[in-house]
Symmetry: C2
Subunit: 287 residues, 2 copies
Amino acid sequence: MIERILILGTGLLGTSTGLALRAAGFTGSITGWDKDPRQSEAALALKAIDTVALNPLDAARKCKLILLSGPVYSILDWMEQLSGVLTAAQLVTDVGSTKTLITEAGNRLFNQPNRAGFLPGHPMAGREVSGAASAEAALFQDAVWIFTSMPDHGTLSFQAGELAASWRHWVEAIGCRTLDLDAARHDELVAWVSHLPQFLSTALTALLQTEVGDAPELTAVGGRALREMTRLGSSPYSMWRDVAYTNTEAIAAAIAALEQRLAHLRENLRTPELRDEFDLANRFRKS
Amino acid sequence: MIERILILGTGLLGTSTGLALRAAGFTGSITGWDKDPRQSEAALALKAIDTVALNPLDAARKCKLILLSGPVYSILDWMEQLSGVLTAAQLVTDVGSTKTLITEAGNRLFNQPNRAGFLPGHPMAGREVSGAASAEAALFQDAVWIFTSMPDHGTLSFQAGELAASWRHWVEAIGCRTLDLDAARHDELVAWVSHLPQFLSTALTALLQTEVGDAPELTAVGGRALREMTRLGSSPYSMWRDVAYTNTEAIAAAIAALEQRLAHLRENLRTPELRDEFDLANRFRKS
């Protein structure tokens, strides 16, 4: 049913989606575009897309489904530009990391009479490295791909609704479990399970750079535990700046809670309370 | 030169050492003992040891090299018990996580005229799961095995010195790079690169258990980043209690520094300072 897909933003996630669709048997056309031509050329070379669009808005008019991939503000920019040029027979969807602003914009700019549909999405998959060159067809295997809505949601046209059903089918075909969440609940949840781990790893890694970074022969001592806990320290600011800006309150609350927890543990290094912390942590890992 | 080895404590590290020695071609005898007979039986079944000692002190008298493996206080207990029963032709070494107390005890109880030698050691390898059943011959591959000393060090007898040289050879044979450090410097360094990551992961994981632990279907959303950052949350209290007790000051200082770093990041989620934190973290990962 979806014959032509346009991927706007052929970085890590956009290019991986193209590769995954091909691996899952998608035979329609996949056009791509990126503001950095090296990214779209790399996606083309990997056969994640079969054409690089010359003009992204012209290409969007000709595709049934437009996938927006990139930092949250770049997705919001695309939404503004696309809302006036599409028809009710088209669907726009995205892979943005935070969903309140995007879902609200989707209902305001799309999902209205005679407008294209918008289905807000967020695959819980990624890597600490960005760019088409790091893309993998298997990136989404066993991941959860979340779709979000808001109480004041607009309405998908019949055609856009069919396209949305078809896109959900493809998301499952590339290895994901889908989950529907309220957009605000999504942002609160990912603050705990995705944003907190990221900002924590950035803080730890920046601290280690300050404290022991001048002695790489000593950091080599750390082994697997250190490598794992600092892996996300490689994550690009360009991506996470938009997350920090668009989910500030929930992230700040999660970080503040962790600061308190660390202080509690620090004050109890020699008391039986330390056992309680290990017990709680052990229990999380077993569930 | 080392014909008989006794491993006191056949948990994860003790049993892995036996397996690694066999894989590297050690053909002498390896006797093992553990206060939990299930651990020594498991080590025997895995062929990490070829005999279970009936009486550990009797067995120690008959072995050239005694390897102490387990929580730090269990190693200190063994050192007290062994110091009176061994001769200058024997060497005791260990795999304990903190080294100031053990190195001091080694120089006081051993490394004296007519006493056995003591070589404090610490392989920077481990897993979040304990016990002989989790042992792996490859655990030490590419790890750093640290040996420590103190300014007031005692003296190894000629025979113990030869055994120490031979043990260092075997440590390299099982895949490690050896590194010699002052004991106090070791404890300060591992507070940053090993203990901080562990206590941080415990605090994060305990926090997540409190905040979202009642909804495992939602924690599944987290993906690889969450799994990695909480893996060490499975680590056993029994092991880390001794680390917390024997390196309290350095660990507390490292945790306090991280609390400050997190507060700084939290206060700058919407300022350009956030970029500096990502830049520092990126730099650590590239070095």
